[in-house]
């Protein structure tokens, strides 16, 4: 294709320009740069600049409306003494550590079921994918009704089997589990990735295992799961990052209050409150960087464990 030629040409000319060659090649390298310019500008203006500035702001009392003063590590020191900050960390980690593994368990389980060759397979797949197409706010409202302590469908069913349902989102002991439950509802996106992973496993392995007399359980344990680990690994990382930044659900559910009894005060929600309700953008910037460090740390930890349990085909 001509386009590929152009790219290759540009790359070549860039190299050539470095060696200080003809004006033609220099011109070509300029074109290459011009082509990339919109993207470069976008990154610089909308990502790099705010990123760098937020580091700076995290050391000031910047309030959006006034530039504020340099306070050094003041914001970070204040955060360490801020009770709500620690509660939000606890809540967010609680949510992440339970919801991410649970989502993987449910996601892989459902993907395995949806991968069996039965009639209407496409319909089932669609059904499980549909919830992830529903906007988060709409999901929240639906769940508010399902989990309504007195008129909700969930408690109605529980009552049918003789259980008096809990207060769900209104009960501080049940509010986080409710939130986790609502998160599982959106597992459809991950299922698609798991399904792709399952389809990728060569049939030969199963055939060979069958010849050796392996049953379903053995095949699952020794072929399917090990070969799925790269996909699970990917979802584990993305899921952790996503869960740590959970915002829309708890914010919509509680109108930003985190009630009952602060049990739904999530980290990013508190960050938002500081930035836009209390006009403490500097403080919020400091929070953002601490969150970044926590997420980076978790990601690194997951990467370190990778060697022990992630199997890549063609390796080893």
């Amino acid at each position: 294709m001509a386009a590929n030629d152009n790219v290759a040409g540009t790359v070549k000319t860039v190299r050539a320009a470095k060696r200080g060659s003809s004006s033609y090649e220099r011109k070509m390298s300029l074109y290459g740069f011009l082509f990339a310019l919109p993207w470069i500008l976008g990154i610089l203006i909308f990502s790099a600049y705010p990123l760098v500035m937020s580091i700076y702001y995290s050391f000031t009392t910047y309030s959006i409306l006034d530039p504020g003063q340099w306070v050094g590590g003041g914001n970070y020191k204040d955060l360490m003494a801020d009770g709500t900050f620690w509660i939000s960390i606890y809540n967010t980690l609680y949510y992440t550590f339970i919801s991410v593994p649970l989502n993987i368990l449910v996601g892989v389980g459902l993907a395995l079921m949806l991968n069996t060759k039965i009639r209407g397979q496409g319909i089932y797949r669609t059904i499980f994918f549909l919830p992830s197409l529903v906007p988060a706010v709409a999901t929240t409202i639906i769940w508010l009704w399902l989990l309504n302590p007195q008129f909700g469908l969930v408690n109605y069913w529980l009552e049918k089997i003789g259980i008096s349902g809990p207060g769900w989102l209104g009960d501080e002991h049940w509010s986080k589990p409710s939130l986790i439950l609502m998160g599982v509802w959106g597992v459809g996106q991950a299922i698609v990735i798991y399904l792709a992973g399952l389809q990728d496993i060569p049939q030969d392995y199963y055939d060979a295992a069958e010849v050796d007399g392996a049953g379903t359980a053995l095949k699952l344990r020794h072929i399917t799961l090990p070969l799925m680990t790269p996909v699970i690994f990917f979802n584990l990382i993305m899921g952790t990052i996503g869960a740590m930044q959970n915002f829309v659900l708890p914010y919509t559910l509680t109108n930003g209050t985190g009630s009952p009894a602060n049990s739904l005060t999530m980290y990013v929600m508190y960050l938002y409150q500081n930035a836009f309700n209390y006009l403490k953008m500097g403080y919020a910037s400091a929070m953002a960087w601490i969150l970044f460090l926590i997420v980076a740390l978790l990601t690194v930890l997951i990467f370190i464990t990778q060697k022990r349990w992630v199997h890549y085909q063609g390796k080893e």
């Binding site: 030629d5 152009n6 040409g9 070509m28 074109y31 011009l34 082509f35 310019l37 919109p38 500008l41 009392t61 309030s63 959006i64 409306l65 006034d66 504020g68 003063q69 204040d78 009770g83 709500t84 508010l144 009704w145 309504n148 302590p149 007195q150 008129f151 909700g152 009552e159 008096s164 809990p166 207060g167 989102l169 209104g170 009960d171 501080e172 209050t257 985190g258 009630s259 009952p260 009894a261 602060n262 409150q273 836009f276 309700n277 209390y278 006009l279």
Partner: protein, 446 residues
């Protein structure tokens, strides 16, 4: 080989597009800022028409109704000013527009926020204009005017207000063997009467309740004042005033006596229906605002009810508290004079009256007592309960940390009723937190 011509053509187009696009962007912005359209319709007469950029954050039909009942009239009487009204949700955009130096000329702002925004220097000081044009603060309720004032300077013109009182369900009172024409006057009476009205259904859940202090407009602010407490004294914030502590302890007593989980289950279930719990007929007493009287036409309750001032401990006067909105000129507004003309109209006598006269506004209280008299609001016996409380209505402290104080109080109230901590300790914590914030804000800034 590479064909150079299309290559150059393409990149030139791209560059031109980029320049054109960015040019468009800044052009659009200045248009949004409301540049005077001197080239407009009035161009030939030589007279300049100014377009005032006016942001409102009330949703629903407000924008259209306000245009119809108030703004159209303003434009008729002020032919040289055009008003461009825009609905902007929340205050985030207003905040960033001020920070970006491109704000609207007039903004509708919760009066509660005026103090903290003024402290950040983001609102125009209106005092010189008020003095110049002889705006009389006595035309407004004292609390309402005080809320628009920060450090003895006025930063907004008040518009609209409200009050809170106790609604009682006469039918449920009768069922409980109480005299429906004698609503509770003291906290003790309220406690005793409501105790007779709690009724459980299957599964240990409440089917009917007497009273939940924190339902709807019941809040630590409401009861702190009812108990004779103060949230500000001699320039100090006093969330942990002894009376406020008593009020919170009283709220907690309901959580303990009737079991917080069961109460929350009931109030959550009700809250979610979107229908005011009181109009469901399952609630004996509830603290709520005058605005719920507007629901009557739609709800048509099939039970008898009444409204009376919020009970107070024996011997203390009845209290209420008020909030409401205001109009302000953000710092950096481009058409201050025209903006002020608009504000004087909409937040003044004429605009206030025009808006209050609209068909579905019959239960709104305006910020101007004179307008309320003109509309004979006190002939509506339900509304009169609220109106009579207005002259002494309390208002939340005007402070740079108003929002923080509100959120902190809501937070500890929630913790207290859920049994997480003692009222005294929790309110002390609020005091410490807001004082810390205040100390940071008050640091001299260049």
């Amino acid at each position: 080989m590479i064909n150079r011509k299309p290559f150059i053509l393409f990149s030139t187009t791209l560059l031109t597009a980029a320049v054109a696009l960015s040019g468009c962007g800044s052009g659009g912005n200045s248009a949004e800022g409301g540049t005077s359209d001197s080239g407009g319709s009035s161009g030939k007469s030589g007279e300049q028409t100014t377009t005032v950029d006016f942001w409102v954050n009330w949703g629903g039909d407000f924008k259209n109704d306000y245009q119809k009942y108030v703004i159209d009239e303003f434009e008729k009487t002020h032919p040289n000013i055009k008003v461009k009204m825009t609905y902007v949700e929340g205050t985030d955009k207003l905040l960033t527009s001020i920070a970006g130096g491109n704000p609207p000329d007039v903004a509708q702002l919760d009066r509660f926020m005026v103090g903290s925004w003024a402290a950040k220097g983001s609102l125009e000081d209106l005092s010189p204009l008020i003095d110049r044009d002889g705006i009389n603060k006595d035309d407004y309720y004292p609390g309402v005017w005080a809320e628009a004032t920060y450090n003895n300077k006025v930063y907004a013109l008040p518009w609209g207000t409200d009050a809170r009182a106790l609604y009682y369900n006469k039918t449920l009172m009768q069922k409980a063997g109480l005299d429906p024409n004698k609503p509770p006057k003291t906290m003790d009476e309220l406690d005793a009467m409501s105790a007779k009205m709690f009724k459980k259904a299957g599964g240990g859940k409440y089917d009917e309740i007497g009273f939940i202090p924190w339902m709807n407009q019941g809040f630590i602010y409401t009861y702190g004042w009812a108990f004779g407490g103060k949230f500000e004294e001699n320039g100090q914030l006093t969330p942990n005033n002894p009376e406020n502590v008593k009020a919170l302890e009283w709220m907690v007593s309901y959580a303990k006596k009737y079991n917080i989980a069961t109460l929350s289950s009931f109030s959550n279930a009700m809250g979610q229906t979107g229908i005011n719990p009181f109009w469901t007929g399952k609630v004996g007493f509830i603290v709520d605002g005058n605005w719920i009287l507007n629901d009557l036409a739609k709800m048509k309750p099939n039970f008898e009810w009444g409204v009376t001032p919020i009970p107070s401990p024996a011997g203390l006067p009845s209290t209420t508290w008020s909030g409401g909105f205001s109009y302000a000129i953000p710092k950096g507004a481009k058409h201050k004079e025209a903006a002020w003309e608009l504000m004087k109209f909409i937040a003044g006598h004429d605009g206030t009256l025009l808006w209050a006269k609209r068909p579905d506004g019959t239960n709104d209280i305006t910020a101007m007592p004179k307008v309320n008299e003109e509309l004979k609001m006190d002939q509506n016996p339900n509304l009169k309960v609220f109106l009579d409380l207005m002259p002494t209505a309390k208002f939340r402290p005007v402070t740079p940390v108003g929002q923080k104080l509100w959120d902190e109080l809501a937070r500890v109230q929630d913790l207290a009723i859920n049994g997480k901590g003692q009222p005294q300790a929790l309110l002390d914590e609020v005091k410490k937190n807001v004082d810390n914030e205040l100390a940071k804000v008050s640091q001299p800034q260049s």
